[in-house]
């Protein structure tokens, strides 16, 4: 059973937004997730660490309905990802190091397309708001192909939160960003921190500790360490080295 989460009074249980029990996933004969069990309360921020190939991104992709679990139960926003994927997709925004944007379309055309797919009622107002917030208004009519990596990532953030999701899944969101883009991303995360539940996969221990209210280390498809936040970087790095065979720490 996934652990229950309580408010600071220690008595009032928090509503669970993400609940994973016994999650197993195989690719061919290779089992990449070996029975993951965890939960994230509404408004929580889970930072997942681990080496390459540990199963972090696969976990996120199962939560986002992009992959199907072989075994186990996965619920997001109260809905089973396999039995009832549509409400899950409406509730989830996914930010990856792949921008998922059409390079031959402009920023505005990309956002219009995704807004139509999600049925965003106030499409033009929402697009204008996000482009201004992410400092992309001046380039809204440029093809995405002409954007820098940082600009693409900012636009990818706009794409992911366009439909006002309750849950944000972040797959190494800071990867490859210039300092300005990191500032903008962090500023945006600060702005929307209270309204969303987050799961972030990262190699960046400093960022993971800065944002996370829950910390988890995954190695070889298993959770090898988890705790609530409130640990300093040196202690966590030591724990990471202890639990991960290739424990190089960023």
């Amino acid at each position: 059973m996934a652990a229950a989460h309580y408010r600071r009074d220690g008595a009032t249980p928090l509503e669970i937004e993400i609940e994973v029990e016994g999650l197993r996933k195989t690719f061919g004969r290779r089992e990449v997730l070996k029975g993951l069990t965890f939960s994230v309360p509404r408004g929580g921020f889970l930072s997942i660490f681990g080496p390459n190939g540990a199963g972090k991104t696969t976990t996120l992709r199962v939560l986002a309905t992009l992959l199907t679990a072989r075994e186990g139960s996965v619920k997001v926003a109260g809905h089973d990802v396999r039995e009832d994927p549509m409400p899950v997709r409406r509730a989830v925004g996914f930010i990856s190091h792949n921008a998922m944007l059409y390079p031959d379309l402009t920023a505005q055309e990309n956002l219009r397309f995704y807004a139509d797919m999600y049925g965003v009622a106030d499409r033009e107002a929402r697009i204008t708001e996000l482009l201004e917030r992410l400092e992309l208004s001046a380039r809204r009519h440029d093809a995405v192909r002409a954007y820098s990596k940082g600009m693409r990532q900012r636009l990818a953030i706009a794409r992911a939160i366009l439909h006002r999701p309750r849950v944000l899944l972040l797959d190494e969101p800071h990867s490859g960003l210039d300092p300005r883009a990191v500032d903008i991303l962090d500023g945006l995360l600060t702005d929307i921190r209270e309204e969303h539940t987050f799961v972030m996969v990262t190699h960046d221990i400093a960022k993971g500790l800065e944002w996370g209210s829950q910390l988890m280390i995954v190695e070889g498809g298993r959770i090898v360490y988890e705790r609530a936040a409130g640990v300093d970087r040196d202690s966590f790095s030591a724990v990471y080295r202890e639990h991960v065979r290739d424990g190089s720490v960023l």
Binding site: R89, Y102, D104
Partner: protein, 228 residues
Amino acid sequence: MSGWGQIGAILRKDLIRELRTRDMLVSMALFALLAMVIFHWAFTVRGDTDLTYFTGGMLWVTFVFAMLLGLNRSFAQEKDEHCLDGLLLCPVDRVTIFLAKTVGNLVFLLIIQAVAVPVFVLFFVEGGFLEGLPAFLAVLLLADLGICALGTLLATISMNTRSRDLLLPILFLPLIVPLLVAATSATTLVLADGAGVREIGGRLLFMLGFDAVFLVVAWGTYDFAIGE
């Protein structure tokens, strides 16, 4: 947004992208026109050769191979830029994606045919084309629908494999043969013998059945085809 609205959004996106890059249309049109020219010069070495009975075969071989070029491209950009993940994250029924992609491929094939058929008529058809036009259009639409439905389903399956460029023709060509035979013979009867819709009714019904079968198959399997 309704499924129809989502079909419209995907279709609009694909059309804008294609009109901007012309990736599919240029390669398909060039292939179709080149094939017509080669057939024309190959078969008219002797000036008195009657080409009328070859017309159906030439036409459909050209269109099927032109469409293969387009089908390979239609999913490549979604996959290469990881846009497929973006599309699959949306609250959209997978069958809606299939229908949108099929209609998109159908539109591209019809654009190519709007260019290639007049050239074909100029090269190979001697008079009487307009009388057979309704029957010819019926064959064209039913065959196009089957080519695009089957092609879209198989392009989706092959997209997730390492050898997608090779796998698509290996899967597509054997399966499209029954439709191709019916379309070829119906086209030849229309253009060579002046047959009308009634005379080729059996072949039209067969093509309609073929289209229905693969639309139903896609309906039932597309969730798996476009998944992992």
